[in-house]
């Protein structure tokens, strides 16, 4: 199977890539790891006339710590996130999400930026950037801007990025040192997208009550959701099994999952509730272990 004919362009810098995007407008697409775009092109769902391959732009591939944040270039491959000591140490849920993506072949090629911009309703990174309040740095001919995760996803496979904009960096603020997080995902078969996924970061105060909380879920709607209702339910309270059940009920009530081969809407709601409850219990367990160590 082949994609339709296109012209292949390989900029070596971000500014060159922006010029090319500006030149070719809607006829052009950026190619990162190609793990979503190439299948789409083969199936004729996408048909760009110009393909701008950004994989050789080294300024887009890095993981660094800076002023209480982790900054990842958009071309950072899933496998690099999975293997990063820094990320494992600081934001383990990001590592867990990266290792839960597809299979080794997908993780060796696919990128953080590609995964976010693709905005698959069942993608894994969406929940994580929402739970951690990450920020997306983007560049276009009009300059630079930063989009908060909560404003990034607009619809299935659609983001706030303009067609001439490049996502260059994802910024993850360090979570509170008294907090711990987890990403859990339910999949139908190994290597598949999520039926439901939950990213939960919980911080515990002196008295053991929940002092900070971030919750993102995938599979609840056409886009990943910041579970604000669950966050305000947990905030400031002691997290008991009853409260966790209540959180599960809340998410299930509010969810409007897409029905597809991975399940009916009613099944997916229950799955989401279950995976969220597990994720809250696990991040609570980790936060308590951290406190007593």
């Amino acid at each position: 199977m082949y994609p339709a004919v296109f012209e292949y362009l390989k900029p070596s810098s971000i500014s060159e890539a922006i010029t090319l995007l500006q030149q070719h407008g809607e006829d052009a697409k950026l190619l990162a790891g190609g793990q979503s775009l190439v299948p789409m092109m083969k199936l004729r769902i996408a048909r760009p006339r110009y393909l701008i391959d950004i994989h050789r732009i080294s300024d887009l591939n890095y993981i660094r710590e800076q002023a209480g944040q982790i900054r990842c270039g958009a071309m950072t491959r899933h496998v690099q996130i999975e293997e990063s000591e820094l990320i494992r140490d600081r934001v383990p849920m990001l590592c867990e999400a990266a290792s839960a993506i597809g299979d080794a072949q997908v993780r060796n090629r696919g990128t953080l930026g590609g995964g976010l911009v693709e905005a698959d309703p069942s993608g894994d990174y969406g929940a994580v950037v929402l739970a951690l309040n990450a920020q997306m740095k983007c560049i276009s001919p009009r300059g630079e801007r930063v989009i908060p995760a909560a404003d990034f996803f607009t619809f299935a496979y659609t983001t706030a990025l303009e067609s001439d904009e490049i996502l260059t960096e994802v910024i993850f603020p360090f979570p509170d040192s008294n907090s711990a997080g987890v990403y859990l995902k339910l999949e139908r078969v190994a290597g598949d997208f999520a039926i439901a996924g939950a990213a939960v970061q919980i911080g515990l105060g002196q008295n053991g009550v929940c002092s900070t909380v971030g919750v993102g879920v995938t599979g609840a709607a056409t886009i990943p959701q910041k579970a604000v209702s669950v966050e305000s339910l947990l905030q400031g309270k002691k997290i008991t099994p009853q409260l966790i059940d209540e959180a599960g009920r809340l998410i299930q009530e509010g969810a409007e999952p897409i029905e597809d081969t991975r399940g009916s809407a009613s099944y997916k709601k229950k799955a989401l509730s279950a995976i969220l409850r597990r994720a809250i219990a696990e991040s609570l367990r980790r936060a308590e272990a951290k406190r007593s160590s």
Partner: protein, 183 residues
């Protein structure tokens, strides 16, 4: 418009003129003639087209050939050295790791990428790693057994690839072919 590119496959250089929409998979099979790498789903799901690029296993069906300039590509054809099979190839024969064989080059390249990085993985690590390589014949246990045989050094030291037997089989296939032609 065709692009001039040089591919480095199993340490040999190939100068090719390729359209940008040519995937590495087709460049290997149709332009270079290395047909060991197989096409299954063609959309990144099955693993039949797995090759190793710069030490990492990837799907050649999703990799543009023009993007591979200057990278070191390994395929199944590069594994046997001086008439001696790679331990993984030998194990797949000894432990029945394949039946029809269409997934086998991908299975072996995926396993090689793992063992090159981690020669002593646990069975669970192998299972997890190989989850991107589907097989419709073996039921996976024999594949797992074959890989673990290499990990645990359980392949025969004096293994002789049974060339005569294989030639006999090929000859019998040739008979079928000539019959088919005359019909």
């Amino acid at each position: 418009m065709k692009k001039q590119i040089r591919l480095l496959v199993n340490s040999e250089e190939y100068d090719l003129q390729l359209e940008p929409n040519r995937l590495l998979l087709q460049a290997l099979r149709d332009d270079i003639g290395l047909t060991g790498t197989k096409e299954g789903c063609s959309i990144g799901v099955c693993g039949a087209c797995s090759v190793i690029i710069d030490g990492r296993v990837v799907s050649s069906c999703l990799t543009l050939a023009v993007a591979c300039q200057g990278k070191h590509i390994e395929t199944i054809e590069g594994l046997a050295k001086d008439g001696k099979l790679h331990p993984l190839q030998q194990a797949f024969i000894e432990y029945g790791g394949f039946q029809c064989g269409i997934c086998t080059p991908g299975q072996i390249m995926a396993a090689k990428a793992l063992l090159d990085e981690n020669p002593k993985p646990t069975e669970d690590e192998v299972k997890e790693w190989m989850s991107g390589n589907l097989c419709r014949c073996t039921g996976y246990y024999k594949i797992l057994e074959s890989v673990m045989a290499v990990v645990n050094n359980k392949i025969s030291p004096d293994f002789q690839f049974r060339k005569r037997e294989q030639q006999a089989r090929i000859q019998s296939l040739d008979v079928y072919k000539s019959v088919a032609k005359t019909e």
